[in-house]
Point group: C2
DNA sequence: CTGAAAGCGCTTACAG
DNA sequence: CTGAAAGCGCTTACAG
């Protein structure tokens, strides 16, 4: 019984075929890659003879060597600032990865996950140790919430081809990204609220300032302006869910707010909890819409008025843009915004008479 | 404002670094691969100078070229016979991948997912086009249910280092694998049943003959033998869930069977459904234990007596074995069986008096 | 129509 | 301690 890993046997190479057929390797290559631009023409009988030898010897080209000769690696990198397969916080990257894999599959690329870039303790870095770890791949898709954009700027400066999933802004370089249309989706919800009779609409966003949040807030503000609605500074609040004070909630209620836009489900749930302590409910005493949705829509999520983020499509589109750049199809900076999907739910209540 | 990828600049190569640092490429290579057997010694200050240039230029070695030249790439391949991130059939590979990533993380390897090996329509192949696609990686972990072992044999014959998650047998070569202890876990359930008073125990396995199933059946048979229990051929049945005839179920009941071992939850549910049509229930009229468990234990699964497959640990262990082989630590064929975890549930009922 | 040669970017004996 | 050279297995201009 043969055991794995004993001695290495030599494989049949193109040179073997060429020798056996009495031609040069260039001819063999030309026959096996008919529509390449080598300018090499081969006679019909020669081609047949070579093919026969290929068959006899069981020759198959070495894809590694093909890649090297073609100057391409056929490897797409996937870099995440957090582990790809976390155990606790759900599979955050899963939908995007699924999109990435679906799109890349059949395009002739393999996917390199940069797991080794993970320093113990600290978060992962692209330039760990000083050199660009992504360099092994032809280009990369970047995922993650990392707010620090200096690595991205350096990467862009080095002319490394990459596309970010999620909008990311830099003053220094124009980045390539695929974003979700948070602004439009948020505007849409404000308009929906307006149509349902709401005139005092508040916004509750996360404490950290990220592009995502800016987009949502901008969508909120532009819709408010467009509809000529009242806009008190107090009605725009930035806070982590845990840090929301009951006073703020009761405050805006007292000021006549009837609809609250909450950036995350956690924000919405926290507000509902606060209301509950005063025996108030959603949506009877306050309509609430969530500006996004969790990875998997749980049954508990169904009732919330919200929108869904096209995570899978974002992954697909990122690959499309990246490969387009590698092929030289896409020229300038590539930035795509994909629309979110509105889900009516039951927490945005009509308050202007019958439906 | 600098734009990403305006002109495609040539990637930095080892030669660039060598030129800039005023050394030969051999020296650069030696510095970047310290413990390789090139016999090349480099002075401390030279090494530091080269490292600095590497940093400045953002150089990263081309793994394709490294592969061709026979060097180490610090890349572990992950090959799956089905897409890694499927949309429909749940994330089958997820627990194993999580284990793989956890284990590989910090070991200095990156993970290469072979997505390109996917032919349109047909299932993926390692030797698509006749040549080993896995060659870019130092070694690979193989996942999937593929019963055809010819590719595995060829891979082993070529001396490519790989470890399979799941036991896989070949008459020609001894394969490396990490398996779940289905046999022991099944024996354990039979013993448990015996202790609860069951003497007539039947086995219901899948229609296809795979190592997994053989292991379970062997565990069943060995326990039956050891306990001196009756063992009618009719009590061992191989069938897909849908193909189970009500006659078989009523038949074994009539013959006095009180406990049925079902390979999958689907088998168990199908049997329960059949029983239900005669107003019989599990476990009052028949105890049923499931020989495994689905990926995520759903609430509906809780009541079933079953065992859990250590999927995550299997992934971890596969990486451990593979890296051990690459490092030359593990010598011969490496085969590990990890124990399953018994979950009591409520569908295996005591029938010999009070507990 | 075909061959000899250079080159893709590395590693590894082999000489100094 | 360091460099020049061969070689991994291909493709692709460049000459005949």
């Amino acid at each position: 019984m043969v055991k794995q890993n004993t001695s290495r046997t030599r494989r049949i190479t193109q040179a073997d075929v060429a020798r056996q057929a009495g031609v040069s390797t260039a001819v063999v290559s030309a026959i096996l890659n008919p529509n390449s631009k080598g300018g090499v023409r081969v006679g019909k009988e020669t081609a047949e003879r070579v093919r026969e030898v290929v068959r006899q010897l069981g020759y198959a080209p070495n894809p590694i060597a093909q890649s090297l000769a073609g100057g391409k690696r056929n490897i797409l990198g996937v870099f995440t600032y957090e582990p790809v397969f976390p155990s606790n916080r759900g599979n955050f990257f899963y939908p995007m990865l699924r999109g990435i894999e679906m799109q890349v599959s059949g395009m002739g690329y393999d996917l390199l996950l940069f797991t080794s870039a993970q320093d113990t303790g600290t978060s992962r870095q692209i330039f760990g140790g000083g050199s660009n770890r992504l360099g092994v791949a032809d280009g990369a898709v970047l995922l993650g919430q990392e707010p620090d954009s200096s690595e991205l700027e350096r990467l862009a400066t080095e002319n490394y081809p990459f596309v970010i999933v999620g909008r990311r802004h830099s003053d220094l370089v124009e980045l390539n990204w695929v974003a979700a249309g948070y602004a439009d989706a948020t505007s849409e919800i404000v308009h929906q609220g307006h149509q349902f009779g709401h005139r005092q609409i508040a916004f509750l966003g996360s404490g950290t300032t990220r592009e995502q949040q800016l987009d949502r807030e901008e969508g909120y503000l532009s819709a408010i302006r467009k509809l000529g609605l009242e806009n008190r500074p107090r009605w725009r609040r930035h806070s982590e869910p845990d840090a929301i004070e009951p006073e703020w909630v009761t405050g805006i209620l007292a000021e006549g707010v009837t609809l609250l836009l909450a950036e995350t489900p956690e924000h919405a749930q926290r507000v509902e909890h606060i209301l509950g302590e005063s025996d108030l409910t959603v949506p009877n005493d306050l309509s609430v819409a969530v500006l996004g949705s969790p990875l998997e829509d749980s049954p508990a999520m169904e009732r919330w008025t919200r929108f869904q983020i096209p995570r899978e499509d974002m992954g697909r589109e990122a690959v499309r843009l990246l490969v387009g750049q590698l092929d030289g199809q896409v020229a300038g900076p590539a930035q795509t915004t994909l629309p979110c999907t509105f889900v009516p739910g039951e927490t945005l209540r009509r308050i202007n008479g019958d439906p």
